[in-house]
């Protein structure tokens, strides 16, 4: 039978490990901070304001109604994206974005595109079940 002391030691140990792991991640984020343009920040705000994640995915996380947009900037190009943003689609409402708002969203999508590739076909599967990019 685990004694009360052993249980306490275990929970304290796990909590310290969890907090250390958290602090380590906050301090050593995977990417060193890059200064991003004001336009890109505005694009990010718009992305959240219109809740784009409800329908679209980024790195496979998000809604399922529209396509994953992680690398849409390099795949389709800014003109193609701008056309969709201006007119909407059968499913996507027409949000009546201004020229400046479209530019901001494009800046955000460009930043996202440069962060990495979300295509699962580009990964290599190892024998131990891990994956490599």
């Amino acid at each position: 039978m685990l004694s009360e002391k052993q249980k306490l030691v275990l929970i304290i140990f796990l909590t310290i490990a969890f907090l250390s792991y958290s602090v380590y991640l906050y301090t050593f984020l995977p990417y060193k901070q890059r200064k991003i343009s004001e336009q890109c920040v505005k694009g990010m705000d718009l992305w959240q304001k219109y809740n784009c994640n409800a329908c679209h995915q980024v790195y496979g996380l998000g809604g399922y109604l529209g396509p994953d947009l992680t690398n849409v900037y390099s795949k389709r190009g800014p003109e193609y994206i701008a056309a969709f943003l201006q007119s909407g689609t059968q499913i996507m409402p027409k949000f009546n974005f201004s020229e400046d708002e479209i530019k901001s969203l494009l800046a955000f999508l460009e930043m996202m595109d440069k962060s990495g590739k979300a295509d699962p076909r580009t990964y290599k599967i190892n024998k131990d079940g891990t994956i490599e990019y």
Partner: protein, 457 residues
């Protein structure tokens, strides 16, 4: 013959009653969302999908949280024989939660979002939730005083409350440019917090379920046994370190992925125990199945097994590569939130709310039918999503991809079965919930409370 509990409705019961209203909203918005998959552009002008999805997701998450809190308070009151620190703090917590949840749902109708993936609402509305949760922790700690010498469910409630607050606050780190300015950094921390947050509310729910099982079986030994604590520490270990499977494809630190992969394999221990205990679980079920609350616990057992198998497979990066971003992830989410969380919370709700004010006899048949309808349709719903996910996965991995819209057309038959099964599932759950809500509303309206014989469902 046992008489009904005609006490004036208590605050913990009001938490659970509010939760029942929220789950009905969640189910209705879920049906609207499923229709929007079949009929593109449905309600596009007034209630488009970017509004419907958070209405559905948040209603269901609020149902889980508020009912888990209500269940926890109900059982703490019983466990401590009403020697709690402050009943006023519980009331304030309820008021803060209910008004904030209503404000959040209204904000979606006006197109005011937080815009984060999964669970989102404007950051300002997170403040009253934080305040309510801080009061919860203060009240809990002052009541329990120490976690030493308590059964496992008290440990689970304690860790659930503390880790929920931590992870909830962590999920708002994005408001600082330091975290937000790179999408990979932002998503790493976001999914760290969400992954652990789910584990935190599960701690509250599972704690209540163990308390309830002890009450039904009359055996208090399990909650103090080594195996109960071994399972608790396995759960806690996973809560802390097994969130990386959400972001295997994100170009983040590799060690996050390796840690998560290794930690998730400890869940095999839980699967092993379920299989080992299968026979005794079955005989226990036969003995207690006449009880409505036990019936929901039994259903949750089956769903835990199915979803844990799926979760373990999805935690292997090589398999996750195929399932990530597909409807298999949705199947897992629905399986856990409906099959596990909702079934367990309904067990708690039935145990807490069913023996008051009106006789359940006329509703016995309705509740039984609703129970079976909900479980069978959930299975079809779950399978439909898995098949749709397999097809999407095939599309994601194919060298010559057809356009996204064509792929969605290919999945349409499974969206139809998902819509039909989902509608039947919602009907079944509403059939189960209706007598409980009616009972409590009558309790509130009839303050004198008639003494009626209790009937066991």
């Amino acid at each position: 013959m046992e008489q009904l509990n005609t006490e004036k409705i208590t605050t913990p019961k009001l938490f659970i009653l509010s939760g029942l209203f929220l789950v009905v909203f969640g189910l209705l918005f879920g049906i609207v969302g499923a229709f929007q998959y079949i009929i593109p552009g449905l309600f596009k002008e007034y209630l488009s999908f970017e509004k419907v999805r958070p209405l559905h997701v948040s209603s269901v998450i609020f149902w889980i949280i508020i009912t888990a809190v209500g269940g926890t308070w109900t059982y703490i009151l019983e466990y401590t024989q009403k020697k709690i620190y402050s009943s006023i703090l519980i009331k304030i917590q309820l008021i803060l939660f209910v008004f904030t949840f209503i404000a959040i749902l209204i904000s979606y109708f006006f197109g005011v979002f937080g815009g984060r993936e999964y669970w989102e609402f404007p950051p300002l509305l997170a403040l009253p939730i934080v305040l309510g949760w801080v009061l919860f922790i203060i009240n809990f700690i002052k009541t329990i005083k120490t976690i030493k010498h308590h059964p496992v469910y008290v440990w689970m409630w304690f860790t659930g409350t503390v880790f929920f607050l931590f992870t909830f606050l962590e999920s708002y780190l994005w408001i600082f440019p330091y975290f937000r300015n790179n999408v990979v950094n932002d998503m790493t921390i976001q999914w760290k917090s969400y992954g652990s947050m789910v584990g935190s509310w599960n701690m509250l729910i599972y704690g209540c379920s163990i308390y309830l099982m002890d009450k039904i079986s009359g055996n208090k030994a399990y909650a103090r046994s080594n195996i109960a604590f071994a399972l608790y520490f396995t759960g806690l270990f996973n809560l802390m370190f097994n969130w990386g499977h959400h972001i295997y494809v994100l170009p983040t630190h590799n060690f996050i992925k390796h840690i998560s992969y290794l930690v998730s394999m400890t869940e095999l221990f839980i699967i092993g125990r379920i299989i080992y205990k299968w026979n005794s679980t079955l005989s226990e079920a036969k003995k207690n199945f006449y009880r409505s609350s036990y019936r929901f616990l039994a259903a949750a057992d089956v769903w835990i097994f199915l979803n844990l198998l799926l979760a373990i497979m999805m935690s292997i990066p090589a398999i996750n590569l195929y399932t990530h971003g597909t409807h298999i992830t949705v199947a897992h989410t629905m399986g856990t939130t409906i099959g596990i969380n909702t079934m367990l919370l309904l067990a708690i709700a039935y145990e807490t709310l069913s023996n008051s004010c009106i006789s359940f006899e006329p509703y016995k048949k309705l509740m039984k039918s609703g129970y079976w309808i909900a479980n069978f349709s959930l299975f079809i719903f779950w399978i439909s999503l898995i098949i749709a996910g397999i097809l999407k996965s095939k599309w994601q991995m194919s060298t010559e991809q057809i356009p996204f819209a064509e792929m969605k057309e290919m999945l349409k038959p499974y969206f139809y079965s998902f819509l039909i099964a989902g509608t039947v599932l919602a009907t079944g759950l509403i059939m189960v919930i209706y007598p409980l809500v009616k009972n409590q509303v009558l309790c509130i309206l009839n303050t004198e409370g008639k003494q009626i014989e209790k009937t066991e469902l």
